[in-house]
Amino acid sequence: MNETWDYLSQVTIGQYSPIDSAFHRLDVRVRMLTIFFLLVGLLAARLPIGLLVPLLIILILIFAACMPFRYALRGLIPPLPFILILAGLQILFNNYGDTGTVYFRATWFTFSLVDIWAGLALVVRFCALVLLLGVASFCLSTTDLVKGLGALMRPLECLHLPVRDFILIIQVTLRFIPLLALTAERIAKAQASRGADWGGKKGGLIARGRRVAPILVPLFVQALRKAEIMALAMDSRGYRSTAKIPGLPYKKIQPGEILAIGVSVGAMVIGLLY
């Protein structure tokens, strides 16, 4: 067994890269909205044009984010088998009707030109989604995510919705991910030093359960302890659920940034229409 122990590097949500690209320089709200509009466009599109326009813009985004193209494509490899299986199912069992050329017909499924288009569209849609999520995590850090959400949801405060609590829940959750990863790493190492078997795959469910107990018990205890201390720390720093946030200020949206939003809105509209 040769465990790497670098739990922290394995849990980053996506792989954020703090570089100074054209896309990274945009205001966080603009980045989030651009990604959101493209996402809606991709999910809503039915015809090839509705899929290809957002895909083209995603490719431009990858370029603008200085994301290595091979690295972006590598993200497609893990989900590819599932995408292909789904495409196969789509080809065999869709309910578009048999309007085009029918190549093969059995009692319970048909195989026609329309089916092939449907399968292909599914592959393109999923691949474009994976690429979009890849570029999103490449350009949005957890801090960006929290700030962006806070700014975008601020208008909802007028409706007396507990926006700040919602943002704080996300913030504390994101804060706990690395905290727990580091704690788990410390515990796992300590238990491995006492002969705990990390590499073993032998035994049934109970044997495996017994193996993870040494890490789970102290991890739970420590997670609860940390949560309690954080709650106390928040209390002692005057946290009140009713408080509205003024927060740190945001920059004004620049004309170039409006253009970025405009392009993504355009892609969304095309997706919605076609």
């Binding site: 102290p218 720093r237 946290y239 200020p249």
Partner: protein
């Protein structure tokens, strides 16, 4: 002067459903006036943190009351005002940071107060610049060092401009440079007229306060100036505390010379009291009585390097070509500032990390061999991490200790094995084997964690900061145990931020600086190289420092004096009479 904090007949007890009432604080009354600097000391579990949490209304008394500027913490309508006036820095900084970036965390408290945005921005900037964190303002907190995290926690409190600051063992995780920075910060705050309550286990820190409060088993047993407290050794022993190092050294020297020449509760005071030497005698040349023993090495590391998170934007080099050997049967100390690579090196020794480059042999095992299983290495090289009690997962002492022996199917009777190691660490087998771990004191828990490693009977025992967070009495007992643990065939390697620990128990020392070995030798050789140690962000042990000052005043004290017994001997031999 009007008190800013008034504690009147405070009692506090815990009660779990269906269980007996457990009193934590008993009949405590005291006052703190504006601008005062008070230290709160006491053994592990004496109730210090619980008391501090009453002072900003995080806990409410079972009976009695706490007033802050006349406002009662029981009144929920004034609680936020109280918390804005009384800032609290918790013991482990990483647990109290809420936000996902440095600047957002500093802004958190002010956002809660509903402060206008422009004011928050201004105060965040001032606090971050003051704490030297401005350049790191957008960084996620988990990528900060311990010292930086401590400064962030303090920045978050200071930005709210509280009048009173409670600090719960702020220096316990810090190295010498971090401690010094924290003290500079405390002094600046006092100059600004802030009131500070400092919880500490370090008697030298307590000696610097204007007033000391001592808690013992939940009762306030002393409230007064440090000088008076630290003049009575017996009383301190009863409270599981000890006198500050400066006083210990001064007293020993006075006793050896038979006259009262030296005094001072802090090292600087002691320095000022040193008179010019009037007797005869020349400073002996530096002959090292202690030599690196010419035994076969048990650890041979050759050019070992390690980089964390390789090929990611967060790549950091922890070890850069570490070459060292450690003789079998010795106690070897590993020292260095935080981030110097100590823990990474220790984790290489029991195979948790394998050398990315270079070669490493420990206890005749080739750690470069990828087929060598971790369990084989762990069996021969036992490693106890920092705060090892955080990793307990059994309920009872006996089971926790037996775990490794069961897991590795070690030969012999399990019960006998557990009994032997419990006796080694000074715990009675019959009394403790069925005790729930949760009921043990800090020192006892540390002993259990050591026993749970010793049960494997390792050839090499590796201890990462074994005394961190222990009260003075538990620390003394542990150091005594470490000395007893050493055998001809057992090597002990320990890291520590406390140079006194190393001077007291180690034979030889390695100094790491930014992942490199910069000094290696016997304790005496290493601790006499003051300049190099300072460059590495370390201090020399107090005795070594005092012996330097003595030499400056002409006292015939050899440079290899680093321990109290050595100082006593040299004074007797060269200066007495």
């Amino acid at each position: 002067m009007k008190p800013v904090i008034e504690v009147k007949d405070l009692n506090f007890s815990y009660q779990n459903p269906g269980e007996e009432i457990f009193p934590v604080l008993k009949d405590i009354s005291f006052e703190i006036t504006s601008g005062e600097f008070v230290a709160l000391i006491g053994a592990n579990g004496s109730g210090k943190t619980t008391l501090a949490r009453h002072l900003n209304g995080l806990l409410l008394p079972t009976s009695g009351e706490v007033l802050v500027n006349g406002l009662n913490t029981r009144d929920p309508t004034v609680l936020n005002t109280i918390r804005a006036r009384v800032g609290m820095v918790f013991q482990f900084p990483e647990d109290q940071i809420v936000a996902t970036s440095v600047e957002d965390d500093v802004a958190f408290g002010m956002e809660n107060e509903g402060m206008p945005t422009h004011q928050i921005t201004k105060r965040v900037k001032v606090a971050l610049r003051e704490m030297d964190l401005w350049k790191l303002r957008t960084r996620p907190p988990h990528l900060l060092s311990v010292g930086q995290m401590q400064r962030l926690a303090l920045a978050g409190i200071l930005a709210r401009e509280p009048e009173i600051i409670l600090m719960d063992e702020p220096t316990v995780m810090l190295d010498h440079a971090g401690k010094r920075a924290t003290w500079e910060q405390i002094e600046r705050l006092l100059e600004k007229g802030k009131t500070i309550l400092l919880i500490t286990h370090d008697m030298d820190e307590a000696a610097r306060a204007e007033r000391v409060l001592v808690l013992h088993e939940g009762k306030l047993v002393y409230s007064g100036v440090p000088n008076e407290l630290f003049s009575g050794k017996n009383k301190l022993n009863k409270f599981k505390l000890e006198i500050p190092l400066a006083v210990q050294i001064g007293d020993e020297m006075n006793k050896t010379l038979g006259k009262k020449l030296f005094s001072g509760h802090e090292l600087d005071e002691l320095r000022n009291s040193i008179p010019r030497f009037k007797g005869k005698g020349t400073i002996p040349s530096a002959i090292d009585s202690q030599r690196m023993e010419n035994r076969k090495p048990v650890v041979v590391s050759n050019d070992v390097s390690h980089t964390y998170m390789q090929e990611t934007p967060f790549e950091s080099r922890a070890l850069r070509g570490v070459t060292l050997d450690i003789p079998r049967g010795s106690i070897h100390g590993l020292i260095g500032a935080t981030g110097s690579g100590k823990s990474t090196l220790l984790q290489h020794l029991n195979g948790l990390y394998r050398p990315q480059s270079g070669t490493l042999r420990v206890a005749n095992l080739d750690l470069n061999d990828p087929n060598l299983p971790l369990s084989t290495i762990c069996r021969r090289v036992g490693l106890a991490f920092q705060n090892p009690e955080n990793q307990f997962f059994h309920t009872y002492v006996g089971d926790e200790i037996a775990y490794a022996a069961r897991q590795l199917s070690l030969p012999g009777n399990l019960g006998h094995r557990v009994k032997t190691v419990m006796e080694q660490v000074g715990m009675d087998f019959n009394k403790f084997k069925d005790r729930p771990l949760a009921t043990l004191s800090g020192g006892e828990r540390r002993k259990v964690s050591l026993a749970s490693i010793l049960v494997m009977d390792p050839e090499v025992l590796v201890l990462d900061e074994p005394t961190a967070g222990l009260d003075p009495q538990a620390r003394r007992e542990l150091l005594k145990f470490i000395r007893c643990c050493r055998r001809v065939d057992r090597t002990i390697i320990l890291s520590s931020q406390n140079m006194e620990d190393i001077a007291e128990v180690a034979d030889s020392v390695t100094v790491l600086y930014e992942g490199r070995v910069i000094l290696r030798g016997t304790v005496v050789q290493v601790f006499s190289r003051t300049d190099e140690l300072h460059k590495a962000g370390l201090q020399v042990p107090a005795v070594a420092q005092v012996s330097i000052w003595l030499r400056e005043k002409g006292w015939p004290i050899p440079p290899e004096t680093v321990r109290l017994d050595q100082l006593r001997r040299s004074l007797k031999k060269n200066a007495a009479g």
